[in-house]
């Protein structure tokens, strides 16, 4: 029967489609009649409740204005996308590349408003802030960032414990080491450390270097001046931090998240921890009753050479986008937010000091009184280095920091590595088109394999086509349903339209971007194949990341495929207890990667996590039955940092087995259950053992499912992203990057859009031809039962 669709019905359906596509925008247009300020916020230790309260209060003060305030711990990802696409919200505090945005003129300079009155109208707005608190984002006499909370990094200590043991806060590094020794001698670990987010180590390094090298040289990092790393003071700073890490950090801390480590401190298992002012606020609800917090400033080399009152502050600033729809109204909101009434509310609610004068004293609890005193006493502050170059160096700094903390590198070597990298970056900035050829065989092999894959695919396709033509099996050109052009457009059109808009066009755009140089904000310039050249012939990152992808692609299936085959076989053969495994292993499929990762993060907790507890318990049991060697080995897993970056990939194996086995098991099980039981019976009568039946019957008959599983694992391996990104707190070392994280880093952290697109293109080619060739190689004749 031919399907007949009239022209009229075709037009009606297309109109319906258009309405569906346009409708959301129509709604948006309607709501834009009133003034709306959009404020996406980072939802960290300070929570969101205060800001929502503030928004509602502001709406009362300024009727007719609606504040659309929302928050998210990963808000930065969302705001970055908005910035790249040029649709700016009004205000944000997301950890963006502030200096690049200042450089491109995307942030509104606030001096005009700062010199006007504050919300109360009793001083200028600028005057209402604590001295020095606006410095961090003041550039060429223009101020861009407004602080509310005053995020100061200090050493927090267990006040009660210190009191009982007679320990006292210290001032110099030598005193600090002595204190740590005393604590260690008492049987406790001196310092908890947020090792999985080892950016926290940067706080120690910066404090040490600032005081050793002085303010001028500290900020010289920003310009990557020659000698800014390879100098005696930097080496000494690194020595201090390494000495601290290797001797006084709690064992296993390199595998702990920030909250896990902070909990160790609050549970009294360590005496101190370094953290920002948000510590108490972040851990509210988890702090045991009666716990008393005290704090002291970072140690200094000696009282004579450094200013002990200098405080290390961190960006918690609010910026107004110049190209937002209502920038002036946004500034007005910030004035309200930093009013004494609102600041006092924040101070009381979260127990975090604020940068507004005359608020902290009356509103902070006894836990944060010492912190307020440190802030009040401070004459100067230091913090993130202004400028762009430092940010580009971050990847190498991440690597060096990790190696330093895990004793893989000497302080001198660390300084040399950073210095060398700074020189390379300087060179790259001067001559962006120069590529130093450092790899030859790898790119040749890579391109050769890619070309071979393409040729193999094309040749086999041609062979198949010819064979099909020879046997007269070329598909009929006309469908039995007499589709007219209009009908064809109706059925395929909407899908094709959506697919084009959301897949093909962005895909083409990526290809175009990959041959351009662009930071996502300024002008785009043509760069030819320089990004590809740099990735393939010069970059360590690319090859290391690709190696990691290959690990995930090849090693993990080696565990996952046999295990899921085994499970599927047990279940299909109805082995007792296998139903339980069906549930246990299928469960992760309803969870999603993020939930699975979070679950395993807890299991891998070095202190008290299920994995280590089980291994140590097993070790004790094994020792009990006389296997001393094995027992000692297993007990060595107490405090083992599974998720530290050097063990990360092997820790992924059990995670992947649990996470991926269920899906593959169901795939295999479905294939196995379609095999008639009589084939096994025939084989049994023919004399085939269970293994032979599996090998000669099951395996060949589930081959299509098996090849799909292999291709899925290859694609999954190449596309790996979330797991690594989450487990490394979005800061993988070079050694732990995969192609996906490298791409995201290039795009959203380094703002190298062209390079990110080039990585995407290479990834696309690898996935496309890798999976096509694998499918082709594994292709066997279809069987019919």
């Amino acid at each position: 029967m031919a399907i007949r669709i009239t022209r009229k019905s075709l037009i009606a359906s297309l109109v319906a489609w258009m309405v569906l596509l346009i409708f959301p925008q129509a709604e948006a247009l309607a709501s834009e009649e009133s003034v709306q300020i959009e404020i996406p916020l980072f939802e960290g230790g300070q929570g969101l409740s205060f800001f929502l309260h503030c928004a509602r209060e502001y709406e009362k003060e300024r009727p007719g204005i609606r504040v659309n305030l929302y928050g998210d711990p990963r808000i930065v990802e969302k705001v970055k996308v908005r910035v790249l696409e040029g649709s700016f919200p009004e205000i944000t505090n997301a950890e963006l590349s502030h200096w690049a945005l200042i450089g491109e003129g995307k942030y509104l300079p606030l001096d005009e408003f700062l010199d006007g009155p504050n919300w109360e109208g009793d001083s200028s707005w600028r005057e209402s802030f604590m001295p020095g608190s606006l410095d961090l984002f003041t550039h060429e006499d223009k101020t861009y960032g407004i602080p509310l909370a005053y995020y100061v990094h200090t050493v927090w200590y267990n006040k009660k414990m210190f009191g009982e043991k007679g320990w006292k806060p210290v001032q110099t590094w030598e005193q600090f080491f002595e204190l740590c020794e005393k604590i260690k001698a008492s049987g406790l670990w001196p310092l908890a450390f947020q090792g999985r987010y080892h950016d926290y180590a940067q706080r120690y390094i910066e404090a040490a270097y600032y005081h050793l090298a002085g303010r001028r040289r500290y900020y010289a990092w920003g310009q990557l001046q020659p000698g800014c790393f390879d100098n005696p003071e930097f080496v000494q700073a690194m020595e201090l931090v390494q000495r601290l890490a290797l001797n006084y950090f709690q064992p296993g801390s390199m595998g702990m998240s920030h909250t896990e480590a902070q909990l160790e401190f609050f549970m009294g298992r360590t005496a101190m921890i370094v953290c920002g002012s948000w510590l108490k606020s972040e851990m509210l609800g988890k702090i045991p009753d009666g716990f008393e917090m005290g704090t002291f400033n970072f140690p200094i080399p000696s009282v004579n050479t450094a200013d002990p009152s200098a405080i290390q502050i961190q960006s918690g600033f609010y910026f107004v986008f110049k190209e937002g729809q209502h920038p002036r109204q946004a500034v007005d909101f910030l004035r309200f937010m930093t009013s004494r009434r609102m600041a006092a509310t924040f101070c009381r609610e979260r127990d975090i000091p604020v940068a507004i004068k005359g608020v902290n004293e009356e509103n902070l609890s006894s836990d944060t009184k010492e912190l307020a005193a440190i802030i009040n006493a401070s004459g100067t502050s230091y913090g993130k280095i202004p400028g762009d170059s430092y940010r580009i160096l971050e990847q190498r700094l991440t690597d060096v920091r990790f190696d330093l903390l895990t004793n893989r590198i000497t302080p001198q070597r660390a300084a040399t590595v950073l210095e060398k990298h700074a020189a390379t970056l300087r060179q790259e900035n001067l001559n962006p088109d120069d590529i130093t050829v450092r790899y030859v065989w790898k790119p040749v092999l890579f391109l050769g394999l890619l070309a071979a894959g393409i040729v193999y695919y094309l040749l086999t396709s041609l062979g198949r086509f010819l064979a099909a033509r020879g046997s007269g099996r070329v598909p009929a050109s006309k469908s039995p349903l007499e589709f007219g052009r209009a009908n064809l457009a109706l059925f395929i059109g909407p899908a094709l339209l959506l697919y084009s808009v959301f897949v093909i066009v962005p895909c083409m755009k990526s290809f175009a971007w990959s041959v351009h140089r662009w930071n996502g904000l300024g002008e785009m310039t043509y760069a030819g194949l320089v990004h590809f050249g740099r990735l393939l012939f010069e970059s360590d990152y690319f090859w290391i990341a690709l190696g990691n992808n290959l690990f995930i692609m090849s090693i993990i299936p080696l565990f996952v495929l046999p295990f899921s085959l085994f499970l599927a076989t047990c279940i299909s053969r109805g082995i007792t207890g296998s139903q339980l495994f069906r549930v246990v292993f299928f469960f992760p499929n309803v969870l999603g990667v993020v939930a699975i990762t979070l679950l395993w993060m807890h299991m891998y907790n070095p202190q008290g996590g299920v994995v280590n507890t089980a291994l140590v318990g097993l070790g004790r049991g094994v020792s009990g039955i006389g296997l001393e060697g094995l027992g000692t080995y297993l007990q060595g897993f107490a405090s083992f940092a599974w998720l530290a970056q050097d063990h990360l990939y092997w820790a992924l194996v059990p995670m992947s087995i649990w996470g991926a086995c269920g899906f593959n098991m169901i795939l295999f099980l479905a294939a196995m259950e379609s095999i008639p039981q009589s084939l096994y019976e025939a084989a049994e009568i023919d004399g085939a053992s269970t293994w032979r039946q599996f090998h000669s019957i099951t395996l060949p008959l589930i081959w299509p499912a098996l090849s799909i599983a292999v291709v899925f694992m290859i694609i999954g391996g190449m596309k790996t992203f979330e797991v690594i990104w989450l487990l490394t707190n979005q800061a993988p070392t070079t050694a732990t990057h995969v192609i996906g994280t490298l791409m995201i880093r290039s795009m959203f952290i380094d703002f190298k859009v062209g390079q990110a697109a080039a990585i995407a293109v290479l990834l696309f080619l690898m996935v496309l031809f890798g999976s096509a060739v694998t499918l082709r190689i594994m292709k066997r004749e279809t069987v019919e039962f």
Binding site: E684, I685, D686
Partner: protein, 371 residues
Amino acid sequence: MAEVVLDKVTKVYPGEITAVRTMDLQIRDAEFIVLVGPSGCGKTTVLRMVAGLEEITDGTVRIGDRVVNDVPPKNRDIAMVFQNYALYPHMTVYKNMSFALKLRRLPKTEIEQRVRDVAEILGIGELLERKPKALSGGQRQRVAVGRAIVRQPKAFLFDEPLSNLDAKLRVEMRAELKSLHNRLKTTTIYVTHDQEEAMTLGERIVVMKDGQVQQVGTPLEVYGRPANLFVAGFVGSPPMNMLSGKVIRWDQGFYFDEGLAKILLPERLNDALRDHVGKDVIMGIRPEAMNLHAQGRFAGQKNILPLTVKVIEPLGEKMDLYCSSENHPQIIARVDAEAGLEPGQSIELHLDLSRVHIFEPGEPGRNLGLT
């Protein structure tokens, strides 16, 4: 080759479902025996127990001199042909046939020789390199049989092997299987629900119902002297007519009184009927034991059943008359074809009294003539 003996074999499935009840059966060496019965009667279970695919709950199965209750299928030296053929779909015909031989590690040359010989016998020599999906139903059937023969087992087990074929092919294959058995002389147990297949193939037939053997005998014995109502009704097509009535004694003889007519029962039944006078019984008469004319074996005056014709089904030389009377909704007679009969017409059918059976009513409905 060997005899297969089932001694008090019982199979109970979980949930106390008894599939086979204390079954005794002795299958002689080189015999072709057919297990026949309706679906769910336990015939396939018996076969699978002999094959070793089902555990035996109670009793023993012996193949040759060996009790095989605990012997795995591969060591029983039997071969089985499945209803759906169970050909390995990814292997060629050659590989399908040689699979078992390869597992026994026979020399390659011998494997090749045996496969080619069997293929020759079955006429599938041309198909050895094809895969099952490229074969027709009949060819697949031959390959399945070939795969069994090539192993030269002690016994063949066939599980409804012809039921997936069309009617014409089924008749052809039936004949081929029979001649194959004549040639190979291997003990064969054949399961079918088709009584016609059972009659044509079996040297002996085992009729089963509800897990119990109803009758064992040659096809003619089972047909001509059914042990009970079930066998009588199951074997033969169209089935035997069953008329309910009473035994009466009159004028020195025993009569079957069905209400309208009184049929004189043969003398050979006299002893058996003596205790049943005045009681309800069922008279069985096969369709072909009735005739429109009182001639030859149908002659006489006390063998007449008055009926009305409902439907006439001409079969060529013969025709089936579907008749009824006040007491019997349907009686089928297979008579010589003749013209002039119309539906609605009253007729008198003459019975061949030598082929009349009297059964006890109810279960099991014993044939009184056999006691």
